[in-house]
Amino acid sequence: MKQEYTITVYTENQIGLLNRIAIIFSRRKINIESLNTSPSEIDSVHRFTIVINEVEEVVKKLCRQIEKQVEVLKAYYNTNDEILWQELALYKVPTDEIAEKVKVERLLRQYGARAVVIRKDYTVFETTGHREETEALIKALEPYGLIEFVRSARVAIIKSSAGFHEKLREFESQQPGEEVIENEFLNKRGEVFTM
């Protein structure tokens, strides 16, 4: 069954790597719903967060292809219930309209938003949350002449992750330890060997 998967990729910070990763999806005609690159908890290590709609079998193969790239340290994939995630959205609205017609305080409280800037001509609100939450505020602001809207890519934290420091140490050693080579078969042998 197709569902939303969040792929987290730890990489070196290298020019051209974004393309190398992106074409793994486009070659298979898979649309990337959201893509974010950012630093990770480790100084030199970059982190990609990629959201796609696919079946697990395909996602697993994609992760193997991603990990195969020379500058990729590790790729994980998770379903939505295995992660905490947020998206950030900005909304620009005319100040006079909003000041006249809306109880701004209540609106902000209701949607967990805050004002980033208030000028005579326009005001910019900001909110973070899941897709539905940021979309709900669009609906609320539309009647007052939403001038501009933008939403960021998803950023996600894996609930069960212990971070990447330990793994990185293994990557840095000449003989990577066993943990580096994740092998899902090991823990699921029963299922695998009954086929």
Binding site: E12, G16, N19, R64, K68, V70, E71, P176, I181, N183
Partner: protein
Amino acid sequence: MSTLEALEQQIETPVEKSISITGSEAVLKALIAEGVKTVFGYPGGAIMPIYDALYDYEDKLQHILVRHEQGGIHAAQGYARTSGNVGVVFATSGPGATNLVTGLADAQIDSTPIVAITGQVFAHLLGTDAFQEIDVINITTPVTKWNYQVTDATELPAILAKAFYIARSGRPGPVLIDITKNAQLQKFDFTGYEPCHHVRSYRPKPIIRKEYIEEAAQLINEAKKPFVIFGQGVILGRAEAEFKAFIEKGGFPAAWTILGLSALETDHPQNVGMLGMHGNYGPNVLTNECDVLIAIGMRFDDRVTGRLDKYAKQAKVIHLDIDPAEIDKNVKATVPVWGDCKETLPLLTELITKKEHTDWLQRFYSFTEEEQAIVIRKEMHPTVEEMSMAEVIDALNELTKGDAVIVTDVGQHQMVACRYAKFTQSKSNVTSGGLGTMGFALPAAIGAKYGAPERTVVAIIGDGGFQMTLQEMGTIMQFGAAVKILILNNNFLGMVRQWQELFHSKRYSFVDIQSPNFVTIAKGYGIEGQTVHHRDGLKNALKEMLDHDGAYLLEVMVGKENNVFPMVPQGCSVSEIRLQ
């Protein structure tokens, strides 16, 4: 000691730890340090500083000037395949670099270790649509294992060390290094060349899991009908001896993919033939009957598996591969044995019981007999006047005794050559398997000859493919690679014609290809040759070709509308293979 001697000694003793050299020299020093003896290439504007430096290195590095960059990279591929070393190719920016793309794709899909070095415009001109500027890094990203653009000469020694390490380690592949002209010209303090042995984010070999070896051994020991299928992984892993010890102890029948060909000698009693679309009858049919399928260094290409949902469904699958991305990619593995087969095979051999499996092996032999009766004998000894491709290969076998390197192009002649050519040693079959690049054979054969100079190299090519890269006869003319060119001319683009006959109601759309007088063209390049029309003259002509001192072109006219059988039609299961 004379003043002169003292002076000489002074010059030879390095006074300082670092010397000032240009980026171009650093490139050449890196190649020499990596043990590269031969480079294939073609100069041009943006790579001129490297060629200028090469002028002083002619005695240390042999440079073969090809006639087209595609020829250059195919030659580097041929060199890599017969020598087992990394093949190196030089090309200039823009069209020089784009001409490499087909070869890079070919090397990527066939796991051939290549380092391609391209010149690039000055760094300040990047992105300005300068003369012969092209975004070679992004163009080649999908077809390289790794690529990198150097704009500063100080990076060059470390980057080239990394390039060679990545190209040859793990599952080999092509690496492209794009060097801007300013970096080639830039002088910097060179402190020496350090080979690379570790890249933090790159794991060439997965850790071997003993549990899987044990699991696999248990499955094998319980198996009644175990069947080994092997690919180029055995050759790339230099594990031919380990492989043979494994199959001999277990008594397994073993069949090969076309890139695995020559890893096991043809006459080995357990070598049961070729897999896949035009493979042998037994291995295809019995794939769907074996109880344990042991896949070694192969990737279950669609030309091998036929219809996947009907492929070896009854069997437990043990998959040995160095590339974790190959496990479960096409065929689900019951036991995944990740690792270099040079290491995993001996571990497995130790745990398996010595067995014969005589009856099971006999099943393969009886399929062979059937194939002999219906296909092979007819192909080898045709009753019609027209010659068959198979009888040409058979005659060649008799003369070479299976000791030659056989380089093939793509199409009917390739399938026939792979089916019938005999091999006594590994690294003897060079062909474009994954990409199916017509025009591969002639340049690859030139490279193959430099990779294995003491061996006879025969390039078997169709009349279509030969016309794609025949300009490389110019390379032979100039540098003298003694390549034996054997053109099997059926006056058709034979493989497409065969499909049009079988699946498109004989609508022969643009497969009727005219050829020039190949022998005359060869003569123009100073290459001796002849055409054979009748089988009476075949053996003598082949002998003359092989005995000739230097390159030779032999064109053999073969039957126009012969088909390659057996055949697994597209969309069919391997066990639905047709004998006629």
